[in-house]
């Protein structure tokens, strides 16, 4: 069956996680992604631990569904090869610091002179203008800059970082993928490529849209609330008799009577203090005091049965060893196990979308730096006349 991005080639000049994850998704949609690295690669991608059989897991993970080539763009012969690949490409993605691609002679103007239909993506941490223009940023620095930590932490406690230091990288990446798809649609309709700019801080703020809206509405910094949601209640984790936590939610008023029945607190249905979400949020403290005591009286499994019967959202706090073979995860291929050429069998993220007519994937591991240089140049009919090149 045809792939959605069949025949679309990506010149992938990306580093670390932000750019690579974006092009990896394009690869999963069927694009021919050619990842171009300087000899030795960028230090960040290759050095982030843990390593698996000597390769950084970040590098392995962010580069599925690509072919890996090496070019030393500071050398004229290599740059000439790059321009020939660019001529045959549709999408150019780079996430170097503003100015770096220009210094390598791969500015928007140069790239579009070679290939006027090119969609050229420049992603950066802080953009091209302003006092921080050109500064580098990575997930943790963007977390700190963007207020992300100020709304996360124990109930009314100190704001803390999210220690899986990749979420804002990948959020920016998915925004890039989305923008590329938009630009491909535009090009299909107008015939023209264009330039796209994306900053990590803007992507990180857009992901906080609902929380920033609270701030815009009140002028007050929203406090961290532990596991609780700020604008719906009850919507948090409660400790049960067996000391397990159960996450529960009443996100709209339709779920409230069933929730009360599940807890055998039927009298709360008619309690005017809690009749609507608005009132439950306003009277959150009283409500939570009541519920905390109730949840503590029985083990989590009991509440799971009762809440599920009433169709009220609930779930446990899971860990990887419980997730990897969880029937919900395997049935939907949310996490999958693949064989890789260099790193053995490995669990990887499943595809985030399903297409009935044009399935994405399959997910296959990329390769080591430069592994596909000869193959790609040969396939594109590009003569590698660099000294020492294999013919």
């Amino acid at each position: 069956m045809a792939k959605i991005l069949e025949g679309i080639r990506v010149f992938d000049l990306t580093i670390a996680a932000v750019g690579p994850w974006a092009t990896k998704l394009l690869g999963a949609l069927g694009a021919d992604v050619i990842k171009v690295e300087a000899p030795g690669g960028d230090r960040l991608s290759h050095a982030v631990p843990p390593m698996i059989k000597g390769s950084s897991v970040l590098y392995i993970s962010a580069n599925h569904n690509k072919r890996m080539i090496e070019l030393d763009l500071k050398k004229e012969a290599d740059r000439a090869i790059a321009l020939k690949i660019i001529e045959k490409s549709d999408i150019f993605v780079q996430n170097m610091r503003p100015g770096a691609a220009e210094r390598l002679g791969l500015s928007y103007d140069i790239v579009t002179a070679v290939n006027p239909r090119m969609i050229y993506v420049a992603a950066s941490a802080y953009g091209r203008t302003g006092p921080m223009a050109g500064e580098a940023g990575i997930d943790p620095t963007v977390q700190c800059f963007c207020g992300w930590c100020s709304v996360t932490g124990p109930d009314h406690g100190r704001g803390e970082m999210f220690r899986h230091l990749a979420h804002l990288d990948l959020t920016t990446a998915t925004t890039i993928t989305q923008a590329v798809l938009q630009a491909l649609i535009a090009r299909e309709r107008t015939g023209k490529g264009q330039r796209i700019e994306i900053e990590m801080i803007t992507a990180a703020m857009a992901l906080q849209t609902t929380r920033l809206a609270e701030y815009f509405a009140t002028g007050e910094q929203p406090a961290p609330l532990g596991s609780a949601a700020s604008t719906t209640a009850p919507h948090q984790a409660f400790e049960c008799e067996d000391r397990e936590y159960i996450a529960i939610a009443v996100e709209h008023d339709g779920q409230w009577p069933g929730f009360c029945r599940a807890l055998k607190l039927d009298e709360l249905v008619a309690d005017t203090r809690f009749a609507t979400n608005r009132l439950r949020v306003a009277n959150r403290e009283e409500l939570v005091r009541l519920l905390a005591e109730r949840f503590k009286s029985k083990p989590a499994a009991w509440w799971t049965i009762r809440l599920s019967k009433e169709d009220v959202p609930n779930g446990p706090v899971l860990r990887f060893d419980e997730l990897r073979d969880h029937p919900q995860v395997t049935a939907n291929a949310h996490i999958v196990e693949i064989d890789t050429p260099h790193w053995g069998r490995m669990h990887v993220d499943g595809l985030p979308w399903q297409f009935d007519a044009t399935p994405a994937g399959p997910i296959r591991a990329g390769g080591k730096p430069g592994e596909h240089t000869t193959e790609v140049l040969h396939e594109l009919g590009i003569l590698d006349d660099r000294p020492g090149a294999s013919k």
Partner: protein, 390 residues
């Protein structure tokens, strides 16, 4: 009038409520698509998510529904469902979040709608995915975060779980849903066929944590931030005299390093192997960052964070203050990039919101309509498909 957007002329019928679906369709609207938001007679439940409210509308709702027109229809009635079918017949995309099979039961499934619109793109959003034992289970922001183990990277072992403050299960999934729709639209432009696409919140968050699953597969050793963050204490950055900040050293040289260390009066670390390679392993994601943090903080205690940030940047490091929302909004970088924009709403007045993220040179994203009042466009849009709304 600005240049046309990339999605101008596409019509989206949005049957979703809450956060995820509306965030998806708002992005398509930003791209230029006409988004018709179908709401039940009492409105999208997100209109009641609060306080805070601005006028009668929740701040949450207002932040997720610009560039849409609102039509109220009661899908429990034949007339309501028939109106959706008439609208879908002339649309390019339908988005729903009813859960697996639920749309088909009311005659609004893909197989039913494609009979009247063969090239339709149909996007279904579910909490857990369309297969498996939890396919019909309801989800929520916290339930999905907890089950996708996001709470493992927050808080302290033994303490109550802490969630990510942002609504990531909803919003990150909204991005994937937008991608799926865009990819299907591109395919339709090239191949002429529509199709059904699907995303789930659980699947989306598990995807976003993918580096972790590989890290845990068979690592050479058990360290690195993807692994030992499970057991690390909460990270608050670095405490200076007047506030906290964060920094990472990864482009050092000996001259800058000596200047930094002498400047901070930290000469004793020059003999400490954990600070080798100009401190690369001693900060941020470095292997020894957590254990050597007190050494840095001792040197930072009598210095302002502004002074420290300048010093660190001077040697090629990255350093930023840890900011809350008021500080962020006052920051000149946010102003320089015009990240916050204002929209005038008919009853709530002037609203601040975050602009569309991607900036296109040729087909710009744009904000053309404020979030709609409930049913504001019912008459206009139903009349257009030949239904008398009254």
């Amino acid at each position: 009038m600005s240049a046309p957007g990339s999605l101008d002329g596409f019509r989206i019928i949005d049957l979703t409520q809450g956060l995820c679906g509306p965030f998806c369709t708002m992005q398509l609207g930003d791209g230029g698509a006409d988004v018709i938001k179908i709401e039940p007679p009492n409105g999208d439940y997100a209109r009641r998510m609060g306080p805070p409210f601005v006028g009668d509308e929740s701040a949450v709702f207002l932040s997720l529904n610009r560039n849409k027109k609102s039509v109220t229809l009661d899908l429990a009635t034949d007339a309501g469902r028939d109106a959706v079918r008439k609208l879908a017949a002339k649309a390019d995309v339908v988005v729903e979040d009813f859960g697996p099979d639920a749309a088909s039961k009311i005659g609004l499934g893909y197989d039913q709608l494609k009979q009247i619109n063969s090239k339709l793109i149909y996007c279904a959003i579910s909490p857990f995915g369309e297969e498996g034992p939890l396919r019909d289970a309801p989800g929520s922001e916290l339930v999905i975060q907890a089950m996708a183990e996001y709470t493992a990277s927050l808080g302290r072992i033994g303490d109550p779980p802490v969630r990510v403050g942002a609504d990531i299960a909803s919003l990150n999934t909204g991005i994937f849903a937008a991608q799926a729709i865009l990819a299907a639209l591109f395919h339709r432009l090239r191949a002429g066929e529509g199709q059904r696409v699907a995303v789930s919140e659980f699947g989306s968050l598990l995807h976003m944590r993918g580096i972790m699953w590989s890290a845990l597969s068979d690592p050479d050793d058990w360290f690195g931030f993807h692994l030992d963050h499970y057991t690390k204490p909460p990270d608050y950055g670095y405490q200076a005299k007047d506030g906290s900040f964060y920094f990472i050293l990864r482009r050092g040289d000996s001259e800058g390093w000596d200047k930094l260390i002498m400047g901070l009066g930290m000469e004793e670390v020059l003999a400490d192997p954990r600070f080798d390679d100009y401190g690369r392993a001693a900060t941020s994601i470095g292997r020894y960052a957590t254990e050597v943090k007190p050494i840095w903080e001792k040197a930072f205690a009598n210095r302002s964070r502004g002074e420290l940030i300048d010093l660190i940047k001077g040697m090629g490091g990255d350093a930023v203050p840890i900011m809350d929302y008021p500080a962020l909004m006052a920051h000149p970088q946010v102003a320089a990039l015009d990240i916050v924009t204002e929209v005038t709403h008919p009853t709530a007045g002037s609203l601040k919101m975050i602009r569309p993220v991607a900036r296109f040179s040729d087909t710009p994203n744009s904000i053309r309509l404020p979030p709609p009042l409930l049913g504001q466009h019912t008459a206009e849009l139903l009349d257009a498909v030949g239904i008398l709304s009254r």
